[in-house]
Amino acid sequence: MAAISSDTSQKPRISYHEFYTDGFIPREHYRPLWEHIQSVGQNAFEAKVHESQLALHAEGVTFTVYGDSDEGIERIWPFDLIPRIIPAGEWSIIEAGLKQRVRALNLFLKDIYHDQRILKDGVVPAELIYQGKDFRREIMGIDPPNDIYTHISGIDIIRDEDGTYLVLEDNLRTPSGVSYMIENRVIERRILPEFFAKYRVRRVEHYPALLLEALRAVSPRGKSQAEIVVLTPGIYNSAYFEHTFLAKEMGVELAEGRDLVAKDDMVYLKTTTGLQRIDVIYRRVDDDFLDPLVFRSDSALGVAGIINAWRAGNIAIVNAPGNGIADDKAVYPYVPDIIRYYLAEAPILKNVPTYQMTNPEERAYVLDNLERMVVKAVSESGGYGMLMGPASTPALRNEFAVKVQEDPRNYIAQPVVQLSRHICYMNGELEARHLDLRPFIIYGDDIKVVPGGLTRVALTKGSLVVNSSQGGGSKDTWVLAE
């Protein structure tokens, strides 16, 4: 939680530059790249950019943006050719921090859906959990295979003004973006293979193999008998590209709810030769729509009876239903305590200071300083339901002030952190843009962090909103080997 008194300094702080030192000299790990870009020259580089656009188009790498109308608009994935580079030493801290965080959050979920020791011990307030929209009473007491809830996490990381890596938010439900991480690498290697010559860049392309291994690891019938499907809501989902991509890369079936049927606590795929038993469902359908028998009864996207099959131990659901309570933004401020509680370790990665709107003092402070705050609805993601104080109008601030007062549990606020910057190639110029990083963590036999992630770029100059759904771009992310 944020200390109110520490935020009195009005001195503007400039964001950390990933590429340049304070003296406008490229940082050491960027020098070979910089020399190479200079040797390519502007004209040749422009041609490469054009080539990369054509490649993305040809590959059909798209995503869907939802506007005011119900129909989404499909766009070509925006990609910047200049990679972001993370030295091995920095990565080892991120990696250890993410593993620690995922391990603790998984234990938290197991506890919340069983004994609730952490609530009884008063470390996390019970009211907070019982008021969470994504606390799923329907799964209480169910034992998921191998006690794993958070098979795939995407944890968003930013750097503050000092360059310190901070966790901005946890995504433990159906985090997306991993296909773009891979496509970015594929395009980068194809268009600028010479970039890679002077670096030892760690691979990310084996992500689908790691995922498949983790999915097999949780099969109730064992690894050798693991029939797997990717369950998608269908072509209208913004991440449909990713669902098809992962199914194809893993060589498993892509299914919609109507392709599956539950029968006597087993789940089957309907095939032309009859019903085929399924062991692991990598679902990209939200909890609400997953099972019309226990969740929303009007859902046509799910499979009736799937939760009872899970309860009976006959299938693994990946990620587990109910994870939303652990990445609830109102639970986020407690994650450092959650880490200490279950692991008896100090958190390796820090949180962004956060104000709880249920705390009257913190709420009053935030409402008085809205133009310097980011206000987020606790169960929204993708940059929806968010107020960016510095870029907001008085009318919008008033609207949020009313919302916060009416339903404090539904909001948190954070002081605006100036996200770090990086050079991007924008219409023939190198310009600085803010960015973040979403690494992906897989929990199967053990916890693995894929060395890299999705670097998202705020394409609008000065903007701090990087979400793809809000017009963000991306960069290939290089983690260097020792």
Partner: protein, 287 residues
């Protein structure tokens, strides 16, 4: 008191339905006041029945019928013994200690927060209801039991019992607006009031038997009432419809935050949903 209960539900569909999944909450609860002596359940078409205990402690029976069918019958027969003769027979907690008793219960059983914090159209925030109602308060210095009884009395001034005036999905605001409701509305109103005092209250779906000497009651149906966590006693039933504390004529089956959690039958199928009003046959006899 020993009871024999038969509960049959017939669902008919104009067109065949398939991939039909059902959850039944029909097994009478077992607690310190009620013993389940025997229970059997069957379906037509026949299906393999499986059971689990849900988060609220209800015994749930699940089954599925994959093949197309136009008719589904579920039958439950149970024999229970209800030992709750005097609901007032418990060691009361002095009123000065009642809050401490409740705080202690919440600490050891965090799930009780659900029965304080939960709000729904059936059990809304009192502040979201018509403010011309002067909802009863739990005055300091009064016993919780006393306040609940006064709230029950107050409810009769705003709701008249009228069969059929509301349906199962009516909101509390609609019932209050009509000035009339059925047992479900009476229960929800009492729950909403008690929760506004930050005292746990929950919904009970169950059966209501009648004394042998009384005249034959109206055809029996499932009944609904409220339970309040009374300091020193624990969950205690209050029937706002009849203005009495639950006694050995009350046979609790399922509990939850509101009627949805305790619905006796919930299903999901593929096919045309139109025109499937369930026909329920219920009989309760004393052994």
């Amino acid at each position: 008191m020993r009871y024999f209960i038969e509960h049959e539900t017939v669902l008919e569909y104009p067109e065949a339905v398939r991939e039909h999944h059902v959850e039944l909450r029909l097994t009478p609860r077992e607690d310190s006041h009620q013993k389940l002596i025997g229970m059997e359940m069957e379906t037509e078409p026949s299906a393999g029945l499986r059971c689990y205990r849900d988060y609220y402690g209800n015994q749930v029976t699940t089954f599925n019928i994959i093949q197309p069918h136009r008719r589904l019958v579920t039958r439950m027969r149970a024999e229970v013994e209800n030992m709750l003769e005097n609901p007032f027979d418990y060691p009361p907690v002095p009123h000065g200690d009642e809050w401490e008793w409740l705080r202690q219960s919440l600490r050891t059983t965090p799930s009780l927060y659900d029965y304080i914090l939960s709000r729904s159209p059936a059990t809304p925030h009192l502040g979201h209801l018509d403010q011309r109602f002067d909802f009863p308060r739990h005055e300091p210095g009064r016993q919780v039991l006393e306040s609940v009884q006064q709230a029950m009395e107050w409810i009769t001034t705003v709701l008249k019992y009228e069969a059929g005036v509301t349906n199962v999905h009516s909101t509390l605001a609609e019932a209050l607006n009509a000035g009339a409701g059925v047992c479900q509305d009476f229960a929800h109103l009492l729950i909403a009031i008690v929760r506004s005092w930050k005292i746990p209250a929950r919904y009970v779906m169950g059966y209501l038997a009648s004394r042998e000497e009384e005249t034959a009651p109206s055809p029996p149906a499932t009944h609904a009432w409220a339970e309040v966590l009374i300091p020193g006693r624990g969950w205690s039933g209050f029937d706002a419809t009849q203005q009495i504390l639950a006694n050995d004529l009350f046979i609790p089956v399922a509990v939850g935050r509101d009627y949805l959690d305790a619905a006796p039958q919930r299903g999901s199928f593929k096919g045309d949903a139109a025109g499937n009003n369930p026909v329920i046959r219920l009989s309760i006899s004393q052994q």
